[in-house]
């Protein structure tokens, strides 16, 4: 028996009845209040708070308040503009279309500015490419603008980690002199999607003919490029259209999370996951072959386990199965897969794919494999299935991956031989850190005469270069991007450069002595010569350009053409990877910090990884085995998350990586995220996690392999004392032991003993509802009955309620489609950005003090060996019958006539009764003055454990705060407000325009951020409104509806579309 009868679980603690876990369920706040805690832990330390200190503070604050009261009115100044720009009205936000660019991550966006400073990123809804969605990374990018660690002026590295500042004119002179001295010049960058930047580089190469441009990508797709060159004669990365793919068979690619263009893919994939026909639901199917529980794998319908080294074998086997059904020649293959289920799965998958093809539908088979032979076979499978021209497009290709790994190997060799005189490193490229042979690169760099880094922030590579010519942040820059061949987006500056920086393009133009030295003119020239002629809407260029700036984009129509593999694949069958031995490790790019480039961003560091739910750390995923009852067998007997292991691979040892026990991790394999362990960067990046990239290897083609075999981990007896995983924080279920020490669901037990019909905690709780296409009708009926029963119970009420009030004006609500939601976390970061939610740091998260208003709960269900995953965005449900409101002694939280559960911070005295009484556990308490909002901050010692710095301490960082939302101080509770500031703004807009409110007037931050369009906000009182439609959907349910709390966030059931033959 591999399936659990109780349905959903979040961690193995829930089966084993771990004591700490059970305790945490009973306590909303699992630790003592902060002063007690500090006095306990640090009483012996000199900087600890003691009772006498407390008295001192007390005396001081009373004294200070008295003095402050008797003092004169503090003088506050107001500085108007000297000449007010026409576009700016103080107090009113301006929006500019632009594009997010960081390394090879790009996305069309709209930037919200207040009084000229960017404070929020929104999606560009005009873009078909992104569908108006964003990613967590794009949302967080606005904070990078105000990063205190940024380069503030050009300079020369002094070799001791410092920068000797210079003037731009002097720097230009020195660099130009050295450039014109001759010798080989190399420009290194990640993939550049900007046509104008490419033109700038071309111009530079024309000026210095010895220059060459070398492109690489940290998470490389060079095998796909090379395979496409061999298969079709085109070295391009294909454009994928998931919206037309009925079946996706995926070998390891994390296309929903981090792989190449996740927002584009999530947007198109989620279109196929929304149920429109409730009689006979039509959903696409995602079949994932992988060893670790990847983020995309967690969203798969069927997850098949294969070892990382078995991927080649599996691809050939799938090919043979498809070939057998289509009559194509089969490939020689030997060996079987370790996992028996996976071994016999290929016939069923092939049958599925072919049936789909014969029904006239398309599919996608893809892999992130960096092995050329494997990618060629994948191409052939897609060819056999007729996917080229339907779901895979080589005409309107993607520009987002162009790097060839072997070019980098060549460059390193050149550098080491001393034949490179000048090296220019563009943008976010950080080869010293993110190449497996980064130390070789660093060694080569020492032999290069002139090395210039154009990075915005200090990184391992820029610190090793002789000169730093810092580029602007993208919000200070001009530019353009062309992520797909026919889609062009503008990057326009929304603020003047904060520091003495100059954008990279401008620097290159200056060094190349370009006749056009202004980059914005340069772009306009490029657009005039290339794009303007391709459209017919505008007759003069200026109006074309103005309109492009306004909309931020030009998306030209495209025709996708079919293609067929023009190479005999038989020769490649032997070149696929051979199964490896021993413990195998899969490296993956984490959602937050990426390949290290985002490690500077505390918003992303504190965004829990969707699967492991850890923050601020590298983790080793280790497999676990279940005996079918209540015992688990953990790899190497590692019984607790956060225990340290030493990771050994060949000669390399990485010490002290904490582990997580991961469901769905194949036995004898582990997984490790890259991107941590930065040694140069701001405080958010330093000393966070472990550096593992040096344990990666390249294959014979020079391509980086993102897995390894013969690895080893050894527990070293130590553990991470501040291991921060939010998985067990704020859990909602009620469980406990019965007399025989068995875990039971307390609610179920109560029903058995006391009979049905009681309200509150004595009924079976409805938090998660899921179904499969196969039992959809049945589950729908079940849900209908359940809701009818709940409605009946809830109607047995003595109190008249306030419905007459809610029917007037507005009655807000929300709908979240759990089937479209993939759990990416964009909404969470958008919420942090919009609502000034504090970042608290690793140690505070460890103490369950994280402040996020919106969390994404992750549950497992189904097969324990390879479970399905359920993501549930959870925030304040704005209950119309809210338990938190009744218990507040000072009425700081109460209900509005529009149905909002209001929180008045200045009234809150911090009893935390509300948080204890909230069944959804969504209320957060400000344990410390995280945002430094208090008046007397400088008179207190730092409240953070071990003197960690507060993230909003610097004035520069505080520029990102939203001026329309109060910055909360210590001692108050806060929670989701449904973006009340946006509601008020939208209402005001309607009122000033003397019209009725439209739905488009109000969109909360989470709803606008979602790349899947899963979150919808609306007014229940709007007759033909979205909310009416969404809530009438038979799959909609309300969490804990039976408690009669009358929450207003409707959730739509999660439905899988499993291939039953694969179970």
């Amino acid at each position: 028996m591999s399936e659990l009868n109780q349905g959903y679980w979040g961690s193995s603690e829930e089966f084993t009845n771990d004591e700490a876990f059970v305790n945490s369920l009973h306590n909303e706040f699992y630790e003592l209040p902060i002063l007690n805690k500090l006095s306990e832990e640090e009483s012996e330390k000199s900087n600890g708070h003691k009772r006498r200190d407390f008295l001192k503070y007390l005396g001081f604050s009373i004294g200070a308040a008295t003095i402050a009261a008797s003092c004169e009115t503090p003088i506050r100044k107001a500085l108007p503009y000297v000449s007010k720009p026409d576009a700016i009205v103080p107090g009113v936000a301006n929006y500019y279309a632009s594009s997010f660019v960081k390394g090879n991550d790009v996305l069309p966006i709209v930037v919200k500015t207040r009084e000229g400073r960017p404070i929020k990123i929104e999606g560009n809804t005009l873009s078909a490419f992104s569908g108006g969605g964003t990613s967590a990374r794009a949302q967080a990018s606005v904070l990078d603008l105000y990063d205190v660690g940024r380069y503030k002026s050009p300079g020369k590295n002094d070799g001791k980690g410092g920068l000797k500042k210079t003037k731009w004119e002097d720097l230009d002179k020195e660099i130009k002199t050295k450039l014109s001295a001759g010798g080989n010049i190399r420009i290194v960058s990640n993939t550049i999607t900007s046509p104008s930047m490419n033109a700038v580089i071309q111009q530079f190469i024309t000026a210095y003919p010895t220059a060459q441009h070398v492109t690489y990508d940290p998470y490389s797709s060079s095998a796909i490029l090379q395979a496409n060159e061999k298969s079709f004669g085109k070295r391009v990365f294909p454009g994928y259209d998931f919206s037309k793919a009925q079946i996706v068979v995926n070998f390891g690619a994390d296309f929903l999370g981090t792989w190449v263009s996740p927002v584009e893919y999530t947007n198109s994939w989620s279109k196929t996951r929304k149920i429109k026909n409730f009689e006979k639901p039509e959903l696409s199917r995602l079949i994932q072959y992988e060893s670790n529980m990847s983020y995309t794998g967690s969203n798969a319908d069927n997850r098949m386990l294969i070892r990382p080294s078995e991927q080649g074998l599996a691809i050939v086997k799938l090919y043979n199965a498809v070939a057998a059904l289509t009559g194509a020649a089969s490939l020689p293959v030997s060996g079987t897969l370790k996992n028996a289920k996976s071994e016999k799965s290929f016939q069923s998958v092939a049958k599925d794919l072919l049936a789909n093809k014969n029904a006239g539908k398309a599919s996608i088979v893809l892999s992130d494999s960096n092995n050329i032979a494997e990618q060629i076979i994948i191409n052939k499978i897609n060819d056999l299935l007729g996917n080229y021209g339907q779901t895979i497009d080589l005409n309107n290709y993607s520009n987002q991956r162009k790097g060839i790994d072997s070019d980098m190997v060549k460059l390193i060799n050149e550098m080491k031989s001393g034949s490179v005189n000048t090296l220019i490193i563009l943008g976010e490229a950080n080869p010293v850190y993110d190449l497996p042979d980064g130390n070789e690169f660093a060694a080569g760099l020492k032999k290069v005469g002139l090395s210039v880094s154009l990075s915005t922030v200090p990184n391992e590579t820029s610190a090793a270069c002789t000169y730093v010519a810092p580029s602007n942040h993208y919000l200070e820059s001009w530019g353009d991007i062309q992520p797909r061949k026919n889609s062009y987006y503008v990057v326009q500056p929304t603020i003047s450069p904060l520091f003495k920086t100059r954008q990279a393009e401008q620097s290159l133009l200056a060094w190349a002595n370009s006749p056009v030295d202004d980059f914005s003119t340069f772009i306009q020239n490029i657009w005039k010569n290339t794009l303007f002629s391709q459209q017919s809407e505008y007759s003069d260029f200026q109006s074309f350009w103005n309109n492009s700036l306004h909309n931020g984009l030009i998306e030209l129509p495209s025709q996708s053409g079919s293609a067929s593999v023009a190479v005999d694949i038989a020769s490649y069958a032997a070149a696929v990877t051979k199964p490896g031995n021993g413990l195998e490790v899969k490296y993956y790019e984490p959602m937050g910090v990426g390949f290290g480039a985002y490690a500077n961003n505390p918003w992303l560091q504190e965004m829990p990884d969707p699967v492991t739910r850890t923050v601020w750390t590298t983790v080793v995923h280790i497999p676990l085995k279940w005996d079918g009852d209540s015992e688990f067998e953990y790899y190497k007997n590692l019984k607790k998350d956060g225990l340290y292991v030493d990771f050994k691979l060949g000669k390399n040892t990485v010490k002290d990586i904490p582990i997580v026990r991961q469901f769905g991790q194949m036995s004898d394999t582990i997984a490790i995220p890259v991107g941590y362990g930065r040694t140069v960067g701001n405080p958010s990046a330093l000393n966070v996690g472990n550096y593992v990239i040096n344990t990666l290897v390249r294959d014979a083609d020079g391509n980086v392999r993102y897995w390894n075999d013969n690895a080893d981990i050894t527990p070293n007896g130590d553990e991470d004392k501040h291991f921060a995983s939010v998985q067990l924080h704020h859990t909602m279920g009620v469980r406990g032991k019965d007399k025989s020490n068995k875990v039971i669901n307390v609610d179920e037990k109560a029903i058995m003993n006391l009979g049905n019909g009681y309200q509150g905690s004595l009924t079976n709780r409805s938090i998660l509802k899921s179904a499969d296409v196969s039992n959809f009708t049945e589950k729908l009926e079940e849900l209908k009955e359940f809701r009818a029963e709940a409605a009946h119970l809830n109607s047995q009420n003595l109190y008249p309620g306030y419905d007459y009030l809610y029917k007037e004006g507005h009655h807000w609500g929300m709908s979240i489609d759990l089937n479209a939601c993939t759990g990416c976390g964009a909404c969470q970061v958008a919420c942090i950005s919009e609502n000034n939610v504090p970042i608290v740091g690793k140690k505070e998260v460890h103490r369950q003090h994280e402040m996020t208003w919106l969390r994404i709960d992750r549950y497992y269900y189904g097969d324990v060996e390879s479970p399905n995953v359920f993501y549930q965005p959870m925030m304040c449900q704005h209950c119309d019958n809210a338990p938190c409101e009744n218990v507040c002694p000072v009425n700081a939280t109460n209900h509005s006539a529009e149905g909002l559960n209001q929180m008045a911070y200045n009234r809150c005295v911090g009893t935390r009764y509300c948080a204890n009484n909230c069944p959804f556990k969504v209320r957060r308490f400000n344990w410390a003055d995280y945002t430094t909002a208090d008046l007397f901050i400088r008179n207190e010692s730092n409240p953070m454990p071990d003197g960690e710095s507060l993230f909003y301490e610097e004035n520069l960082t505080r520029l990102v705060l939203n001026p329309d939302v109060t910055v909360r101080s210590r001692g108050v509770i806060e929670k989701c407000s449904l973006c009340v500031q946006r509601i008020q703004e939208g209402k005001l807009r309607a009122k000033t325009e003397m019209r009725e409110l439209k739905e488009s007037d109000i969109k909360p931050a989470c709803a606008t951020a979602c790349p899947a369009g899963a979150i919808k906000f609306g007014d229940q009182n709007m007759p033909e409104g979205t909310l009416k439609k969404e809530w009438n959907d038979p799959t909609t349910y309300f969490v804990l509806e039976e408690l009669n709390v009358r929450g207003k966030i409707g959730y739509k059931m999660r439905v899988t579309n499993k291939n039953s033959e694969l179970i």
Binding site: S83, K84, V89, V92, K807, S896, Q902, L988
Partner: protein, 473 residues
């Protein structure tokens, strides 16, 4: 009988027609003037005085109309639409005005139609002869009345308290006398306490202490609530800007300078270039001469000697800046009768410039150039969200309702307490533009109740205006 009937009907008919005509005429007139007023405010009030008789940047409307009356009306239309064209054609009146007012050019208004201009003229004439705006019965401010009542109540309470106190004293006296009589009857020695003994008795001390504690706490709490409130706060500003001169005498509309009030949360302290739209022409003040207005010039970099904006003003040294404006102050000083650049004159110029520098610089701003550091008079706590446009544009609340008679304030003073109680009281009493604004159509029940006569008004509080998260988020 029949005849009578007929006559009656006829006279009724004519009466009705008469009535209708009257209404028609009066409504047409009213609309014209109203429109004229709006157009005047939007287009003309910047340069022409609202009282129509005094000079501002442009000539007073009264004289202008009198003078233009001698020419065909079309000439005036042309003048308003493009004055420069008319001047170059050599129109005598146009040339006359130009000679008087140059180099100030009248802004051309090519978009105004003949009807628009007629409306404006009608409005101007209405203001001149005092027939517009029509006198409405003065609505007494509600808040004022409430206050009156409150103080009345206090007197009543005080009176009752006094009466009771006297009563208590009398009763105590009677009781004591009775006790004495009783004691005398029983033959006990009469214990007569001295006043000191009485005053130091436990009961009296206890009562007094109790009263002190109650009173003390009451005052403390009441005063603590007042902490941080700044009613009547009137700080000295870097520029002795007089609302009396601007809003009072010259009747400049509040929202001409505070242009954020209609569209933003902030009413906005006007930027220096807003000042310049008038002060390019008015370079000396009625009260302080060059002293205050030169501050505007020195902030933005306008050279009053040449009537030009200074190129790269930001980069000039403090010495160079001083040179420009001292020259201006000196020249203006010399225009006074009998003034020469003697020691007194030099001292005058230097003192005035030093004062200007002091006003325009601070600890954080070392340069004269750049924004003027006004002192905020109205301060709300950070946790309060207030939006001007909500009140001004949507609620149609007069500026004076919260800011008092600013037009009479030489130095701006905070009129209202800006306390939460003050906000809430107003929200409870003020009617929203319920029938006028289609936004409120979704309040179906209220509309029905209004129609049925069950309700006579919808206040801000009725539409949720006193809920926490209308102002705190």
């Amino acid at each position: 009988m029949n005849c009578m009937h007929d006559i009656n009907i006829r006279s009724l008919k004519s009466f009705v027609i008469l009535l209708l005509t009257f209404f028609a005429i009066s409504t047409v007139n009213a609309a014209d003037l109203k429109n004229g007023q709006n157009l005047f405010k939007a287009n003309c009030a910047t340069c022409h005085n609202k009282n129509m008789v005094d000079k501002l940047t442009g000539p007073p409307m009264k004289t202008a109309l009198e003078e233009w009356a001698a020419y065909p009306k079309k000439d005036l239309y042309d003048w308003i639409r493009n004055s420069q064209a008319l001047i170059s054609k050599g129109h005598p009146q146009a040339v006359k005005i130009w000679n008087e007012y140059k180099p100030v050019v009248m802004t051309p208004f090519p978009n105004l139609t003949d009807e628009n201009i007629d409306d404006i003229i009608a409005y101007v004439e209405g203001v001149i002869d005092g027939s517009y705006p029509p006198k409405a019965a003065g609505a007494a401010p509600a808040a004022g009345t409430a206050k009156q009542e409150g103080s009345n109540n206090n007197w009543i309470y005080l009176g009752i308290f006094g009466l009771l106190a006297i009563l208590a004293l009398i009763l105590a006296g009677i009781a004591r006398n009775l006790k004495t009589i009783e004691s005398e009857k029983e033959g006990k020695p009469v214990e007569k306490k001295s006043l000191l003994q009485l005053m130091t008795s436990k009961t009296v001390i206890g009562v007094v202490l109790f009263a002190l504690i109650v009173l003390g706490s009451y005052t403390t709490v009441n005063n603590a609530i007042q902490l941080g409130r700044q009613q009547n706060y009137a700080p000295d500003q870097p520029i002795k800007f007089s609302h009396v001169t601007h809003a009072g005498i010259n009747k400049i509309d509040c929202q001409f300078c505070h242009d954020g009030a209609r569209r933003s949360k902030h009413s906005v302290i006007p930027s220096t270039n807003t000042c310049m739209s008038c002060h390019k022409a008015i370079k000396k003040g009625s009260e302080y001469g060059t002293q205050e207005i030169t501050k505007i010039f020195a902030s933005i970099g306008f050279d009053p000697n040449t009537d030009q904006y200074i190129e790269n003003y930001d980069k000039l040294s403090q010495k160079e800046v001083a040179k420009i404006y001292k020259k201006w102050i000196r020249n203006q000083y010399l225009t006074q009768e009998g003034a020469t650049m003697d020691a007194a004159g030099k001292e005058f110029v230097n003192n005035q410039w030093d004062h200007i520098v002091k006003s325009l610089t601070s600890e954080h701003k070392k340069k004269v150039q750049g924004p003027i550091e006004w002192i905020r008079v109205h301060n709300l706590p950070d946790h309060v969200y207030f939006n001007h446009s909500q009140h001004v544009t949507v609620g149609k609340v007069d500026c004076e309702a919260c800011h008092g008679k600013v037009a009479e304030m030489e130095t701006l003073r905070q009129y209202a307490p800006l306390s939460m109680g003050w906000c809430i009281t107003c929200h409870r009493e003020t009617k929203v533009q319920f029938n006028e604004n289609p936004y409120y159509d979704s309040y179906v029940r209220y509309h029905q109740e209004l129609k049925d006569g069950k309700r006579d008004k919808v206040t801000v509080a009725d539409v949720g205006g006193i809920e926490c998260q209308k102002c705190h988020y």
